[in-house]
Symmetry: C2
């Protein structure tokens, strides 16, 4: 049975991947975003019009990478990215999307527009380092995600949820969750249809140290269904 991580464990594992195992953010973000795109393709092969909501941190970066791969798979991603960062990697990831003819917008988007224009929403707003409360800037998009009738796929953490305690009373209800590296405790209160694990790059020693009990990925698959 795969282990569910608390927030400190998730942060420690992330730090070890960079500091001890010498991965670069570029590398792991590429593999993480790719595994999200592959899991999405498995579950929603025909939900082509995808709104990707990207937050200001690493979770948003995973979303940008996911968008790029989805575009190569024939999807039509539109990226909502209200708070861009100055970091070079993020500027480059954004540029890579724009040069694939994807629109990257900071224009506010409401529930009605989502329901009319998209078949799927990817929630890449906040990740495992999220601490409540949600910043005022992001309240409108979270409100739209709570009310939309379209399925939501959350990357690693459903945005606005407590990483350990899970869904707040008025939290979003994603249809899909792609946990990265290992699921976090909040995933125990996930009630949607699809729960995948992605990010097949965890060194065996690291998995052993944290007793992750990761499932066996099949063949060359980079994601696996947990439910």
């Amino acid at each position: 049975m795969v282990k569910y991580l608390n927030q400190d464990e998730a942060i420690s594992i992330d730090l070890e991947l960079f500091n001890e195992y010498k991965f670069s953010v570029d590398q792991l973000m590429e593999l993480a975003g790719l595994s999200c795109a592959n899991a999405i393709y498995k579950c929603y092969p025909n939900n082509r019009r995808v709104l990707i909501c990207c937050g200001p941190g690493n979770n948003g970066g995973d979303g940008l990478v996911c968008a790029r791969h989805l575009k190569h798979y024939g999807f039509e991603p539109f990226i909502y990215y209200p708070k861009r960062t100055e970091k070079q990697l993020y500027q480059n990831l954004t540029h890579q999307c724009e040069t694939l003819d994807m629109i990257v917008s900071s224009h506010p988007i409401d529930c009605k527009s989502i329901d009319e224009c998209y078949d799927l929403v990817v929630d890449a707003l906040f990740g495992f380092s999220f601490q409540p409360p949600v910043r005022a800037d992001f309240l409108p998009i979270l409100e739209a995600l709570k009310r939309t009738r379209k399925p939501i796929c959350s990357i690693d953490i459903p945005s606005g949820w407590d990483v350990v305690n899970g869904k707040p009373e008025d939290g979003i209800c994603p249809d899909m969750l792609v946990s990265l590296t290992a699921p976090k405790l909040c995933a125990k209160s996930f009630g949607g249809r699809y729960h995948y694990l992605g990010g097949r790059f965890v060194p065996f020693q690291l998995a052993e140290k944290y007793k992750l009990d990761l499932p066996l990925y099949s063949g060359t698959e980079n994601c696996i269904s947990l439910k």
Copy 2:
């Protein structure tokens, strides 16, 4: 019909990916090496004992990434890496392999040892920027690759071949070739069983500009058989 590139075109496309499309070497090497690992898994699922021969440049870096993913797929890679570079990325890629319990060695290896100890050889010695003649340091390993009875999978260019004119009279005869981004002209004289294309990251505008006529990858596949 996919286009076969000359050396100048290959170098120009590579430069544009970095300078115009703002990819990092970390990103593209990760995707390239991953696609090689996936293609190898398709063709040699049971040739588990793999010798990965890595050269000093980017082709060797692709080999290091390929080795790491093969290890995750259950293969037993052993890395021959006679000329390490000081660049941080290469040191990190090497460290990532070593911390997955792979041996990275600079100890010379001869044909007899290859035939006895391995089921497959991955040739990641020289890539598309190779200019003959082969440096003296690498003559012994190339000699061993010419004489081994075990199948060789070359990454992008069969090492020692002219990038445009192809196989020299006494060149190695790989059983598999994984072309990256687009095949190079030398691939026209490839006589082995498996020719794959990997590296599904070429921006559509770039493919258009160079009239690459890339084949359509299937689903979420990152490699495709050209033969």
